[in-house]
Symmetry: C2
Subunit: 467 residues, 2 copies
Amino acid sequence: MSKLCDSLRQAMERAGLKDGMTLSFHHHLRNGDHVLNMVLEEAARMGVKDLTVQASSLFDVHAPLIGHIQRGVVTGIETDYMGGVLGKAVSQGLLDRPVVFRSHGGRPAAIESGRVHIDIAFIAAPTADCQGNLNGVYGPAACGSLGYAFSDARCAGKVVAVTDNLVPYPASPASIDETLVDYVVRVDCIGDPQGIVSGTTRITRDPVGLRIAQYAAQVIEHSGLLKDGFSFQTGAGGASLAVTQYLRPIMKQMGIKGGFGLGGITGYLVDMLEEGYFEQLLDVQCFDLRAVQSIRDNPRHQEISAMRYASPTAKSAAVDNLDVVILGATQIDDHFNVNVHTDSSGQIMGGAGGHSDTAAGAKLTMIVAPLFRARLPIVVDQVLAVSTPGDTVDVLVTQRGIAVNPAKPQLKAQLEQAGLPVYPIQELREMAQRLTGVPQPVPRGDRVVGLVEYRDGRIIDEIYQIP
Amino acid sequence: MSKLCDSLRQAMERAGLKDGMTLSFHHHLRNGDHVLNMVLEEAARMGVKDLTVQASSLFDVHAPLIGHIQRGVVTGIETDYMGGVLGKAVSQGLLDRPVVFRSHGGRPAAIESGRVHIDIAFIAAPTADCQGNLNGVYGPAACGSLGYAFSDARCAGKVVAVTDNLVPYPASPASIDETLVDYVVRVDCIGDPQGIVSGTTRITRDPVGLRIAQYAAQVIEHSGLLKDGFSFQTGAGGASLAVTQYLRPIMKQMGIKGGFGLGGITGYLVDMLEEGYFEQLLDVQCFDLRAVQSIRDNPRHQEISAMRYASPTAKSAAVDNLDVVILGATQIDDHFNVNVHTDSSGQIMGGAGGHSDTAAGAKLTMIVAPLFRARLPIVVDQVLAVSTPGDTVDVLVTQRGIAVNPAKPQLKAQLEQAGLPVYPIQELREMAQRLTGVPQPVPRGDRVVGLVEYRDGRIIDEIYQIP
């Protein structure tokens, strides 16, 4: 019997979709993804209820999910990240069950251990053949790596590949292969390329951001980690990206040949690969078109699974070999606990993604953030959600100064010796408060709307409804 | 704790080696493999007893296994293929337990289903890093594809990578990645390149073999399968390989662009890839150096797992999409049952490998063999072992004529219409017997020394001791 289905509906019927099931989705098409919306719309038409959406991330493009929740089609969400539109609705109490937030490493660990069961995985496939060999590097919706979908494909009860670029057998490369795929369906369009490579991936021009990046590069320079084989991850935020800009001349001057760049990959890291700053890129997700082209054409730019990226249950993962990671924060407290789940008013607008995984793995975990945002200090008494525990965070870098986790006295001494402006984290908070005033306490509702599940499966915090 | 061990012994100790365990090995180093011998020698030194060797194939280089069996270090063998030296000893009653013979697709199916449990998998790794990312395409013992080792790495209790080419993290490509590997050990030499690309892979110059190959190519030409997208596998035997030589001009003249070549890959198929006769090669094992270079450098030459090659439990496998396979035989009976496990005296000197898998999958399964060998007809009343059931075999091609399975009357008509010398299989037997005389019945012992497990897990035949 052919795997090829005439319609998405037929694929969903053949996969046995019914009430109460868990459907999984990966987020490589980011804010351009059409697949999740198509599937849920079809499920709604079929009259199916009580679904759980198990997603690696959810973006604003997935706003129609709100309606599906209001109508009872969807009653549960598990995800590693949630954009602001859906986050706002969830924070206001949209769901009866709290959203379970995992990390990019914790999610595949939970799936592969069997703790999370997926009934049907929908794989958005930029290219696929009739047997389900598929990849993300060719086709009109090419997105590069499909790393977050690997565990879904391996472990789900049924696997449906949804493609708008059906090619003759055998599709090559086969990032996910036919041994794992039950059904293949061709649709008109799986995603909007504009949204796939969305706008977060440009280096900041803001002088505050540039100052932070410059300090961050200096912290790396004096960390003792910048030597041959150096490995590095940076987020796609503007200030994080800017670190690469300052790191390059330092590496060049010191004659350092890096080992690998990791994570969500941008064109900036591709440039560093091509110019010989790194030997390899390990890529679980491409952030821009240049990364997509590179992973397709450059054998030293490798696609990796989320398990290999960051799983705590893998026999080892790339994050375990990571020297330095640069991460963002909406809040950080005295104990270096970091919040990336909510904004400073407690409204959900993010999630751990790989934040807590890389923090746990990297030898040096650096948070880069402005001293204050919208007249609110970044350093707070208590974060509204602990996304990443402080014992895995080493340094906070702001435009006015640097705070080192007291657990790292040697690093503190090195940075001081290099003449960097090192302060106790409390002093950074006070510095901000002198400019912004002491912020009002944030009111919170009684009901828990989100659970933060750490990469090892422990619930480390709860996120409350906004009153 | 580092995965890197100081010695093979340390790796085996850390992996918890003890009496009664099942150790697995893959055969990409073929007759040049040092790893199986090194591991068993070390196990013998450690005083370990009662091991089962779970191998994808065993060659003459593994003759020391005989001594380990005699001394009780090894008491069980499960394999897809066994060379003549070991085969002779087994046929003479070396082991108390019968050898379990599987196919290249049945083995990973049995492993991944949990029906076969591997305690420790030893992966011969031509290149590896300290975390166990490994590949077969670089290093002094480069062998190309590592496809047969994938299921072992995925499912074994412990996985030990044995390498003679330890490279900085991260090794690239990572055919098997660090998420699956427990220990890594560097040794002086994992294998002898001369034996890795052994001598089976040259086109025959024997006029009988060439005649057979010519007929075989004509059968393909007139089978109705030779059209754009055509897919093809041939064994590495001289006559099988020669088919490619006759097929090329036919494809050229007909303007056919093939889809993929499959299986163990030789330089002959690489030539066809590069010259545009095929779009892709799907490679579970490289037979020669040219194939090794090609899988390293040509993105259209893909490494595939044994699951993807041939597993009957995969959601689909490449053999399911195969048009034509050319296979050998030591014996074939009236019902087209084929023996590739024993020679015509009943002595073990082979195994199914991918024979029964490709026969089950391909639209046209063709056996090529001389009408007689050493004065013994190839067609017999009853094969001494059923390796591949006759209902999956379509055609026998000899130098004197072609027999078509009566289940395929249309194919028979097509070949007759093309003027090919088609006979009932019984007539081919009689033709041979007129030249060789009627062979003496083969005496057999009472004890079962081998079980032929078909790809679906059923035992379809028993192999008896030689008296």
